[in-house]
Amino acid sequence: MLFVTPLLLVTAVGVAAADLYGTEASVRPETAVSAAPPATLSASPAASPYPPEEYAEAGIALARSADAHDPVETTDSGDASHHGGGYKIVQWEWSYVQTPYIIAIWILVASVAKILFHFSQRVTTVVPESCLLILLGLVLGGVVLIASKKQLYQLEPGLFFLFLLPTIVGDAGYFMPSRLFFDNLGTILVYAVVGTLWNAFCTGFSLYGMKLAGIIDEKVEGGMMEFLLFGALISAVDPVAVLAVFEEVHVNETLFIIVFGESLLNDAVTVVLYKVFISFVEVGPGNVQTADYFKGVASFLIVNVGGTLVGLIFAVLLAFVTRFTKRVRIIEPLFIFLLVYLAYLTAELFSLSAILSMTFCGIGCNKYVEANISQKSRTTVKYTMKTLASIAETIIFIFLGISAVDKSKWAWDTGLVSCTLIFIFVFRALGVIGQTWVLNWFRLVPLDKLDQVVMSYGGLRGAVAFALVVLLDGHKVKAKDYFVATTIVVIFFTVMFQGLTIKPLVKWLKVPRSTNSKPTINEEIHERAFDHILAAVEDIAGLNGYHHWRDKWEQFDKNYLSKLLMRKSVYHKGELWEVYQKINIRDAISVIDQGGNVLSSARLSLPSMASRTSFSEVTNVTNYLRENGSGVCLDLQVIDTVSGGKVEEETETHHLLTGNLYKPRRRYHAHYSRHFMTVGDKERQDREVFQRNMRSRLESFKSTRHKAKGRHKKERSQKKRKGSDAKEQEVNGKPRRNVSWQDTDPVTAPVDSPEERSEEEADKDEDVGITFVARKHETLKEPLKERPKSDMLEVYQSLAVIPPSPTCAEKHLPWKGGGGTLPVCVSMETTKIIPIDLQQAWNQSISSLESLASPPVQAEPQHPRVRALSRAEAARGGNSGGSDSGGSGPAQDPRFHFPNDEENGQSLQQQESQPLMSSMKPPAPPQVSSTQGMGRRPPTFNRNPCVYLRSLVSASPPGSEPRSRGPTQL
């Protein structure tokens, strides 16, 4: 199996390549690998295997712009035979693309390998991926070796330390569970420092002893310093290997954080020991003076503290920068990557501990950065980091395998290898037991024997050791080749054998596993309360313990750091609120992912979101939801049901839904902009939805008309977007083909109305959709009266919803009685809905809208709890200024004045989210009120159309000013 896989892989690459180039498939990978002999991954310039004329063309090739790539690729597909004199239609530009090409191919190979591994569930559950990757590396290395007689690819230390390692450490540091990490910091530090020192010295001395005893062959030249050096580099637990193995094992989180934290923090020790011993080896053991030892200790402190400081400085910097990225969201993730990486490089620059620096940068900035950046950026950062780290890890392991094949690099000594294996294992175990014994005096929750076994067994060595040993200077360290071989064996043994067996071991020992559950809001709140309690109890008991200091730190953080590093809006909201938001979003997403049921209580959480102050954060919630597919609903309660017995039903629903759900609406504008990502919609869907909207709106409208005392207007304003949208409109110049509610209608919006409204209208964003019609009418009463009737009819016909008789509709319009006062506005909430069941959605929005002015339309029975909640919600909404129910005023002042931008943003957000919550329950029976035989027959319209109608009825001289575009387009 294992041997088959790589073969498969090669063909797979071939197939992939074929896709790329078009025709000739299977030969490609071979050429890719073997045709590029001299190019190691480290981008060394290499002689092209292809004719020298290429070089003549290099200038031309360079002169080409980015699209140079495409011609090259097409060349591959084709005809090498076309090489001739004169102008070449296709040219072979291998030397030009070589380096990136090879890198890309390698990454491709690595990724495809991953896919293939995971085809077989059985294999991957038993064998850790890292093992498979190393095996694959061995095979690939063998192939390359046979093909070219020479090992071309190596894990280059430069490549490793500058690119591969940082991606993994960056990911680990940034996503380090900081609370857990700091709770166990003492333990981690002890293991990392004392443990590593212990391992290094014991291994070094013991090996030297073995050498003296003659067990290690004479050929292995080296004095005590050499062996200590080797001990230093071989003793450090490797973060890459630990991550790779432990992530699959799922031991409990305390255990994981201790082993993993140790592997990260021991870097400083390893680096220092390594450097110190190298310098000792270089000057010769005889010349080492006492002062040098002290220098070693001093450099240890400096490397440690310096690395940490550099990391923290960059963390502060990064957090501070992200405070101001509000207007350039698109580069937020970039800042994070750059600064975290710079933390690493800067530490390297001063030869401080780069891993330490990066880790602390990640840990330090995480809290503030996550609070500052948008939800989208969070997702981007997360995925990008994970992708990079995963790829880097894959490449590292493959290259470890490949490097091992190269026999010229190493020399075998059985004594050395076996002694090393035994010593590192024994000393690891001894060290862990000894340290744990001491630590348990101080630990709140002692580490028991099982933990110690796993920790000893989890002392995996990896690529760091390999890179370090390869870095050794063969002239100064005579035994380098032996050390390389031993290191490779040790890595293979720990990663493969221990990695392979640790899972069964953990299972067999019944080591408590991680529960892998996401925190609930209850846990968040209560744990916070616990912290306060503990701090208080420590104070009462007069102990200045951990909680006491943590409490102090949190005060400091709250009073100074957060103030400095967090956006005001975020800072003022407090962490608990953040947590609440996050959990809400998470639940919503999980509900959506699972195709969860929608209860009408969905609104529940959203009104609260509406009152968030930060404009962009708010929109992001919706964006997030959009990204995540079907905009079914945002319902909190479903968590219960989801985990309950409804799973089966739900999967079914899920399939059903994924097939049939309307896609969430996306914005049209800004297709051209690289700063936004948009997706086109389907007109058909739009039309369908629009029609349905119209119908149900009118229906519900009628039913509620008596109750509604006033019309509430939803204002949505989104200044930023408006501009671009308007532009687009202008550019188009002609009516759009799409259904109106999708397109905003900026044209209508900015109508110069005398009322204060105009301002807000101008802010309306493209999402407004249908509403503009209504508004227009409101704002421009007079012109409306002159509307051509025919025009109207046309519109509706095109909608396939023929208005029965406008006059009738008119009668039913609530504002009819209002006489002079205009029906000001119509809620356009529904316009945004992707209505699964429009009726219900409409009910929801109506009831929320009218919470103040009128009793909610309650047609369908609700779950009691839901009802209670929604009632509460409604009440709350009514009270609250900017919240969902929006304007809530009686007719005379239907509009709600938003104090500022942010508020507007919230309301927008609110509206945007509403549709997502539209429920999927069976539609409530249509609420037919006292319609006097009128508009039932044809599908009814909802409010906007009503407005339409009304204006039409009241005065419909034809040929007045042009209709707003949206609806007419239909």
């Binding site: 709140l444 929750v445 968590i639």
Partner: protein, 195 residues
Amino acid sequence: MGSRASTLLREEEIEEIKKETGFSHSQITRLYSRFTSLDKGENGTLSREDFQRIPELAINPLGDRIINAFFPEGEDQVNFRGFMRTLAHFRPIEDNEKNKDPTASEPLNSRNNKLRFAFRLYDLDRDDKISRDELLQVLRMMVGVNISDEQLGSIADRTIQEADQNGDNSISFNEFIKVLEKVDVEQKMSIRFLH
């Protein structure tokens, strides 16, 4: 101070406390000296004012609730026994205690008792339920003034929804335990008393 503490605390008292709370001898004497230093009235009991004099407690959001937890219902004095009994909730669970015979009465620092302590902080009216109002009060204490009532309300609703199983719109103790099932209460509700 230490000497005074030991003189005022009789051996047999220590033994009883030891038995009841599981604290070690030295811990008891240490805490007794703390107790007496808090006891400004020097009458062998602590009043609320004595607690409130602790500066850190004044800035602890739940400070007053926690102080209240030291006092048995209806009383405004707590003696050393009571003091120790309350503190004993926060003693870490030790290995040898885990496997104790189940017939023995539940130690004060058991998981349940730790949770009970936390629960009582919320449950002001002692009806064994955290109502929405009670939760809101605590939340209000724990968050800044920047979160509006309605936001807090939604958090509270959410919290109750999540925990509430019987639909009574409040959290009973059992629901409280259930919802914190996965939390390592043993660790998160323990502090290390010096030996």
